[in-house]
Symmetry: D2
Subunit: 347 residues, 4 copies
């Protein structure tokens, strides 16, 4: 029996071969725990260099929801909440992890996953203009994602504007880079790692969806921003005992600029799939430049399609149609893209 094609998500395989090999090769070395080992040191140093911020604090955590919950809890005071797009991962897809540590997500409407400097500025102004704002959760930080949950990108201009608004209001800007490698691999992208380090107060470089078995690298350009972050990580159950496993993975990911290259094929494949969809009369739900492709499918057709392709359910479109997501990744093979396109042609 022929195996199905896997396009449901970007975390369906193990790790980039360089990483799995290095893990095997270093397996029996002895190191101390909790990320105080030499592999972690090396990885942190590579990341600092790549980001152009030699003093940055870099910490490795396991997954995205965990990282978001830990960072946000570390930054906010009890009376503060975090501004985010209503489509932000923290707003609706983290099972209440932000609220679990006592903080409110202050949602503002997004456009294709993005929020603007103007919207943030207005939110903050409205807060201060409200005579009763002492009865209301104060905006204490801003959360955005790059690429967004919809695969869209903030331009350097947009990000600079958001950063300015945050700095004027003296609230930190936090960027979720779960799929950052796919942003960095896009022609449309004009924001590099150094830009992130200069415009954000905290951001994380995603590993789980970008080539590692797991792991996210939190970068804090000004190491004084968060006091006792190590203990807060521990308290959130996010301190990894064998920290070197994270260190080794990110050390590989930032060796020879692998992170900058690892998403290129995925983005190219996504473009091929989008083109094929359009050529074959499918409606793109939104047309976004990174590794996620969203399209509308007839429910009947979807049954047959699902027998050949593992896809992601996104949302109901109408009673007869469904929005699905097809995601490529560093692990996607060109031959599987070819096969997928063949299936789309047979419509």
């Amino acid at each position: 029996m022929k195996e199905k094609l896997f396009f449901s998500s970007d975390y369906m395989e193990g790790a980039h071969p360089n990483i799995i090999n290095r893990l095997a090769e270093t397996n029996m070395h002895h190191t101390v725990g909790y990320g105080l080992d030499e592999y972690s040191d090396s990885a942190k140093e590579r990341i600092r260099t790549a980001c152009g911020c030699p003093n940055a604090q870099v910490e490795f955590l396991v997954g995205g929801t965990q990282t978001n919950a830990t960072v946000i809890d570390a930054i906010l005071r009890p009376y503060q909440g975090v501004i985010a797009a209503n489509t932000g991962h923290i707003s609706g897809h983290e099972a209440g992890a932000i609220e679990q540590s006592g903080h409110k997500v202050l949602c503002i409407p997004s456009t294709l996953g993005k929020i603007s400097a103007g919207q943030i500025e207005e939110y903050i102004a409205d807060y201060y203009n409200d005579d009763n704002h002492d009865h209301v959760v104060a905006p204490g930080m801003v959360y955005i994602s790059q690429p967004t949950e919809y695969g869209t990108l903030y331009s350097l201009r947009e990000l600079t504007d958001i950063s300015s608004v945050c700095r004027k209001a003296r609230i930190p800007l936090y960027l979720d880079g779960a799929r950052l490698a796919y942003a960095l691999a896009c022609d449309e992208n004009d924001v590099n790692l150094k830009d992130l380090a200069s415009l954000c107060d905290v951001f994380y470089i995603g590993g789980t969806k970008c080539g590692t078995l797991f792991g996210e690298a939190v970068v804090i350009p000004d190491p004084n921003l968060i006091s006792h972050f190590f203990t807060i990580i521990k308290q959130h159950g996010a301190l990894f005992a064998k920290g070197r496993i994270l260190g080794i993975q990110f050390d590989e990911l930032f060796k020879d600029d692998l992170y900058l290259k690892i998403g290129r094929d995925a983005v190219r494949f996504a473009h091929r799939i989008k083109t094929a969809l359009k050529e074959n009369g499918y409606q793109l739900f939104f047309d976004t430049p990174t590794n996620q492709v969203f399209c509308v499918m007839d429910n009947k057709e979807l049954v047959e399609f699902g027998e050949k392709v593992v896809y992601g359910f996104w949302e109901k479109y109408d009673s007869d149609h469904t929005v699905i997501r097809l995601a490529t990744s560093w692990a996607t093979k060109e031959e599987d893209v070819d096969s997928l396109i063949e299936i789309l042609k047979k419509r």
Copy 2:
């Protein structure tokens, strides 16, 4: 330069060779995420079989503190706390992770890491006998560890008595098995996995310290105990995206009873070290049967010792002495034990 000997802890290396090989071998297979894959299914089935509880819910989490915080939060209601030894891992070494989710740890004094059925019974009775108990946190579950943080073991008799007290009081018994493989490998031990499954309401089988890169397997013999555990895991940032990485590791750990055998050498080595310590006039701080050795060292001697051996600081003994911990593990080599013993002889 000669490398130091590593005896500081039991999480200083990668994974058992079977595990690292299987991870490499399966690396590019496609699976769905979040532990719904076939590797996880197989691992869960092997664990159910090993524990003799075919209906058990089994979930894989990443680390011990995370597992404790998630399980305890899933079980307790807001007005309840968890009874634990004052030396329990949750009492003092998890950076307030239990309190972070709103629950109080109700400490009772331990004897070498253990608490007794009688103590628990008395705590519960005192609570109900207090006229003002409605103003006090109610005991809602019991936490114990096997082996304990001090390396000691509950006997089957002791565990049975604790279980009876809990069931009479209708509060769940939760057992932390972070180092469970080293208990199972001891001659002194008379509690097997099936006993745990019949006497505990929840327990976890430790992976991180017992042969995996990371991972703990939570076993809930009665799958109705916790509602929506998956969402609670997600909320605690403990849901692992590439769940199959956990599944593969535990599948290997429970293939051909590896988990029952993996701690044997470690325990034998610990006995050799304890014997050598005693023969060379060192004072054991406590004499416990598993893979952790605690002894008192003169501070001056310790400086020299530390140049050759990486040990664990346990606590200050007096102004001139320190209690140190020497831990063996599945990864310890006999030749390193030989070298350590040589060093001890040269006193």
Copy 3:
């Protein structure tokens, strides 16, 4: 100098004369604490009778935000959130009190403060239809207010429908009656206390805005709904030491149906004010039947108006206008309403 007219809110004075007199009269009686006294018993019994639910658990808390936070925390499990109108008091005006105890407010858009059975049904259906709903906060209860924050009322038909949806989904319905006396005093209202007791799973009868110095009476028709509510109240800092002070106040409020009558003048006065506003060419922001009047004022005119009348700021209307709230209460005097209307006429 002439004193200003006070129409800014409904909690600007002390208590109904009957209440303040009874407090003075009983001042030196000895009772036990924490609401276990005979005054509290009598008040609870009167409330049970008024609500037609002889077995109800009745508890007295101090204020609205406290009551909402305590009740919601008592009902929800960690993985659950509370459905509410985006204009609900808990959504935006409680400084994150619900999130403080770890729960997400699941907002749905309101129409003049109200949400419909259909919206709730759809929200719940969408949750269950989402393939990934295990990653999302589960709807665990519904919060509505009567009258709403905008002064509008649910009809008996609407409330019955909402109750049916909740019961079908097996999630409790909670009604915030902070200003309930003003609903009960309206001709437009067709929902009485017995209806509330039969349709809601929990509701509270507001005292603070309806004649007491402070205090809200939580009614739980089925006393088995919440376990250990007393301890949860204590944990939330909401247990009142001299409980009899609450008991005495509610005992007076429910003597001779005072609660049913106490809002009548306030509602009549609000109608007079609305009529005067309309007759004098002011725009009502919304036209609602209870004791709150919302109108649009020119900012220049407002300066002068504010010298004579203490009003409530509601929100900015446009750059030249402001929405203000004028509230009447049990304490409003007809002569002050006359004076206010005179001022409005002088436009």
Copy 4:
């Protein structure tokens, strides 16, 4: 039938006559809400004067547990806990209110309710000396009570020493003055309000047990200590709508030094009772100088005693004896003390 004598606690009656009269007298005055009224202003000013700290922030909350939970949550960061005596009110008698907001109570053993500067210093030193202290909750503030839960007093010398240790360690000292009036009324006491204001970083002046219907006045000598305290109070459900009711009560309590005198008779009565107990052969459980008397009673005798006197259960002494508490208060009448002493004589 003769009424029983009430000596069970110090919150069994209403308020001091001056207070209840003033509440009645001001009942229909209009004021703004939330403590921004002129009565609250006046009360705050009187308290600042009495404490000799003209810039202090003063806020009125409702009850003790609420005040403790709110203040502690406002001060601590997530990775910090509060050092307290194991007998402290927050340690065991607040139903987990401190843990509910995510913080651990770091208990140290007390001597008759007190902890010493030396113990605190050692706790902090041990924390910093622990190589693994990053895995442990950091001491972030110190909580003590005056008088303690056992009725004992810190001397000026002891309090000065504790304050020095805290300031050296840069952690705030918080003093719970639930029964402060009874300390201030003792001959043995050498700590006045100005001392508290100069040695503590936050403290509260108890009203509930010292003459008000309810209410505690939090004093923060340096108003910059806590940012956005108002919002944090609101978030904890502790913001009182009709704030003037608190203001009026504390305005009376600090008029003509009433607070300094209100506990005098209570302390004198407690001395009379202790003398009578000793003269009649009863064993004092501890002999403390304030308004609480603790003695050991034979269980059989207690049955008869309980028919005439409402006393407080403290704890079981042995199988035949019970420790009871007899509390006097501002409301106790000399004739009731006479009657109690008669009963004790009839042994």
